[in-house]
């Protein structure tokens, strides 16, 4: 057998095109639904879903594509919420600038945490991120600007780009949708980029990647920073939507919740975290008005997921679907 | 007990053994017998089912049918951890040295199941490479040293039937020679040994009889003294 000069990538990946088509269709359909949704569903609820979906996607970038389980992602989410809330409320920054600032701070924290944590893998990594995020929690409790137990309240939504009044529910909703789509697109691009390839290789076999000349810590660090920054983007946006930032966002329970969303939806799938976030948020708001104890139900879902559907909902669907 | 000579009674009797990994049917009615004090080899190409036969005897492959009798006792249906306690020692293909244990701990790990096992001194005599490495982490030994350790630790337990899976794989010729010496020494002490080998040159220096396996069946049995006569046949079986 000789190498044919016309061997094209298409023949090497017979299902690549089909997959792309399907993904594009799915995205289009999803977007249509998202645009129409606020006319059928309660917009604040939808915005919450979107914020958490972005948060979960950011988290999934690490666990699903770099194989690193962070158990302290609330630190980035919550810190960004505080920074955005403070910047908008106290310094009077425009909402878009506030969110950007929150994102930047989260990314910077990601750099510091990442530098410490990526020296270990697996369970160690999880424990270290958990402990570091706990430090952030105590700081948030103590720093003056976070308002302790009260949090930062009454954050004005303000005017987007000085023109669009975010107090209009639909304006706010479409802004959040735009932010989510941008974040999601960035994650998609990252996963399917030269960088994403190296990340995958590192996840698969790190010593081999090193022997090929990759300074693997830098790649993992970049992934960590990206993930932290995107989590921050979600946190900052949430602060504007709910007009508040509170301690809840930096607790380790919040870190656990984002793990649950991702696990439930499907780790390492692009859409899994979105589905997971939607389910968890819906469930939380539904359970709020029943007499079922919320933590027990959440815990039970965790257990069931881990025991019987480790691939998550989307992962399970993908596995059932024919490969072509 | 170690009478060295062949006795007529079979120590291990495998008949019509079928074994499965999940859905795949690997052994299709393997039958063989091993008499007290014998060294018997299983020869065969990669994937013929040699390792699987051993794992089925030990109960590691639990999905199996047919009959495996050791000193008259049926092993199929017996709890897995009770099989070795009857006096069967297993040295796995991948050696299975524990990295969280040091060499000493590795050596003394398998529980003594019968009287008459070798003492640690006797073992060091047999494998001088291991001497003085007691506190080294098990897996920090080189491949050959690990193989020696894997054999050595079974000798302590008093097991009188030893299943040795490819003890020479990946070893330097000189080490292979050493292992050969060791196996012969064991034989002289009255141990019964079943040996899986691809290297029949090595096998021929120590074995009494050879079973040849192909695709989950035993296709032939060649006593060692008839090996020369059957060389062509054997070459065909093994594809050398």
């Amino acid at each position: 057998m000789t190498a044919q000069s016309d061997v094209s990538p298409v023949t090497t990946f017979p299902d690549q095109n089909g997959r792309l088509m399907r993904a594009a269709l799915l995205c289009g359909a999803g977007l249509l639904i998202a645009v129409a949704a606020p006319f059928a569903l309660y917009p604040v609820f939808l915005m919450k879903v979107l914020c958490f979906a972005l948060f979960a996607c950011a988290f999934n970038l690490l666990i699903g594509f770099a194989g690193l389980l962070s158990f302290g992602h609330a630190a980035f989410f919550g810190s960004a919420a505080y920074v955005t809330a403070h910047a908008v409320k106290v310094w009077g920054l425009a909402p878009e600038l506030g969110i950007l600032l929150g994102t930047a701070v989260a990314a910077a924290m990601g750099l510091v945490f990442g530098a410490l944590a990526i020296r270990r893998q697996g369970i160690y990594f999880a424990m270290i991120t958990l402990a570091l995020s706990q430090m952030v929690f105590f700081l948030a409790l103590q720093l003056k600007f976070t308002g302790g137990e009260d949090g930062i309240q009454g954050v004005p939504r303000g005017l987007l780009f000085g023109a669009i009044d975010l107090n209009q529910p639909l304006a706010m909703y479409y802004t959040v949708l735009a932010i989510f789509v941008a974040g999601f697109a960035l994650i998609w691009r990252t996963v399917n980029s030269p960088f994403g390839q190296v990340l995958k290789a590192i996840r698969e076999n790190e010593p081999r990647a090193v022997s090929l000349g990759y300074r693997t810590e830098r790649y993992k660090l970049l992934a960590f920073v990206l993930s932290a920054g995107l989590a921050g983007l979600a946190g900052g946006t949430k602060a504007i939507v709910f007009q508040l930032a509170s301690l809840t966002d930096v607790t380790w329970q919040m870190s656990g919740e984002v793990v649950l969303m991702t696990l439930l939806g499907g780790m390492g799938t692009l859409f899994g975290p979105v589905v997971g976030a939607a389910i968890v948020v819906t469930l939380e708001s539904y359970l709020a008005s029943t007499s079922l104890p919320v933590p027990v139900v959440i815990g039970a879902i965790f257990v069931v997921c881990v025991l019987v559907f480790r691939r998550g909902i989307v992962g399970e669907l993908l596995a059932r679907l024919p490969r072509r | 007990m170690p009478d060295g000579a062949m006795t007529k009674t079979a120590m291990l009797e495998v008949s019509d053994l079928h074994a499965f990994y999940g859905e795949s049917h690997i052994l299709h009615g393997v039958s063989l017998e091993v008499r007290q004090g014998e060294v018997v080899t299983l020869l065969g190409r990669n994937g013929a089912g040699k390792t699987t036969t051993m794992r089925a005897i030990m109960g590691i492959v639990s999905k199996r049918s047919g009959s495996i009798r050791f000193q008259g006792k049926e092993l199929i249906g017996m709890a897995q951890h009770r099989i070795p306690r009857l006096g069967i020692g297993y040295v796995p293909e991948e050696r299975g040295i524990f990295s969280s244990l040091n060499v000493d701990e590795n050596l003394t790990l398998p529980p003594v199941v019968k009287e008459g096992g070798m003492t640690v001194e006797q073992i060091y005599e047999l494998f001088p490479n291991l001497k003085g490495r007691g506190t080294t982490q098990g897996t920090r030994l080189s491949g050959g040293e690990q193989q020696m350790l894997a054999i050595a630790r079974i000798l302590r337990t008093g097991a009188n039937l030893i299943l040795l899976d490819e003890p020479t794989e990946g070893l330097a010729p000189v080490i292979i020679e050493q292992i050969g010496v060791a196996v012969r020494a064991l034989k002289a002490r009255g141990f019964t040994i079943v040996l899986v080998e691809q290297n029949f040159r090595f096998a021929s220096t120590i074995a009494d009889r050879h079973y040849v396996m192909e695709e989950g069946h035993v296709v032939d049995m060649i006593p060692n003294d008839q090996l020369d006569r059957n060389m062509d046949k054997l070459h065909a079986y093994l594809g050398v």
Binding site: I128, G299 | Y90, S100, L109
Partner: protein, 295 residues
């Protein structure tokens, strides 16, 4: 009177002693975690919850059956161990073949269930548990008043900690355990009943948490939330000591207790963070932890 950094030396000594007492709780809990992690490779997020269950069982025994502290000290770890046995047999066991992270996630879910359920039935304010008659009162040590009960806590936990360490690092049983973590099939092929051993290990690890819970009951409120905050600190202790290192868990637990005690004197606001700061520093210098093996 001379002082050390503005603190009279006796007072400092008293604070160190208190630190040691806290340290013995850390040691006991991180020991259990280390045993479970070392043998099963499971980060037992339910450890704090089972510590709480241990305290609650003691309280339930006292309240409903009138069973006293000393009996509870034995009975409650047994009950918690039995719960652990069931959890291991029915759930954890299925996860040994997949990524260890799933063990962490499962036990995290279990922790939520335990805490949530106890909250649901017993509220959150907690329940009172009296100090046993025999250990009421205290000793005036000159520099401080040491409640007898605290003295007992130190002694009891040190004995249990070092007993456990000895059993695992110095006995044959310990060697079986370590070997079985690595290659259970082979250890089984040596004639050891591994599944039973693994179950017992988990049961023992959580029984240690239950024991700590009973020790804690007379000091702290017996409340569904008593474990959830403590456990994060204990995790940090385990990371500092080196995960899976038995001795590391004990020594680090005790020393961090002391260190925290000192912080409470000189800079009390930081006393909850100090452990995490130490952890960050240790990780920078020695990523595997103080007693951990580099992989």
């Amino acid at each position: 009177m001379s002082t050390i950094l503005g603190i009279p030396p006796q007072a400092l000594f008293g604070q160190l002693l208190l630190g040691l007492i806290n340290g013995s709780f850390y040691a006991l809990l991180s020991l259990g975690l280390a045993v479970i992690f070392g043998m099963l490779n499971v980060v037992n997020m339910a450890h704090g919850a089972l510590y709480m269950v241990g305290a609650f069982v003691a309280w339930l025994l006292l309240t409903y059956l009138g069973i006293n502290y000393w009996i509870a000290l034995i009975l409650s770890p047994i009950v918690v161990g039995a719960i652990g046995l069931v959890l291991e047999r029915t759930m954890l066991r299925r996860l040994y073949k997949v990524d260890h992270l799933y063990g962490l996630l499962l036990t995290f879910g279990l922790a939520l269930i335990f805490e949530g359920a106890f909250r649901h039935f017993y509220g959150v304010s907690g329940q009172p548990y009296p100090i046993p008659e025999m250990l009421r009162g205290g000793q005036n040590l000159g520099f401080m008043f040491l409640p007898n009960y605290r003295g007992w806590v130190v002694v009891a936990s040190l004995v249990v900690c070092f007993g456990t360490w000895y059993a695992i690092e110095r006995t044959r049983l310990g060697a079986y355990l370590r070997a079985a973590t690595e290659n259970p099939t082979l250890v089984q092929a040596f004639g050891i009943n591994v599944p039973v051993m693994v179950s017992m290990t988990y049961a023992f690890g959580v029984a240690l948490a239950g024991f700590a819970g009973v020790l804690a009951a007379p000091i702290y409120q017996v409340s569904p939330l008593m474990g959830s905050n403590l456990i994060i600190v204990v995790f940090a202790v385990v990371v500092i000591g080196g995960m899976g290192s038995i001795l590391g868990a004990i020594v680090t637990g005790l020393s961090l207790g002391l260190l925290e005690g000192l912080t409470k004197v000189f800079y009390p606001e930081a006393s909850n963070i100090v452990v995490f700061v130490i952890m960050a520093v240790v990780l920078m210098i020695k990523p595997a932890g103080l007693f951990g093996r580099e992989r």
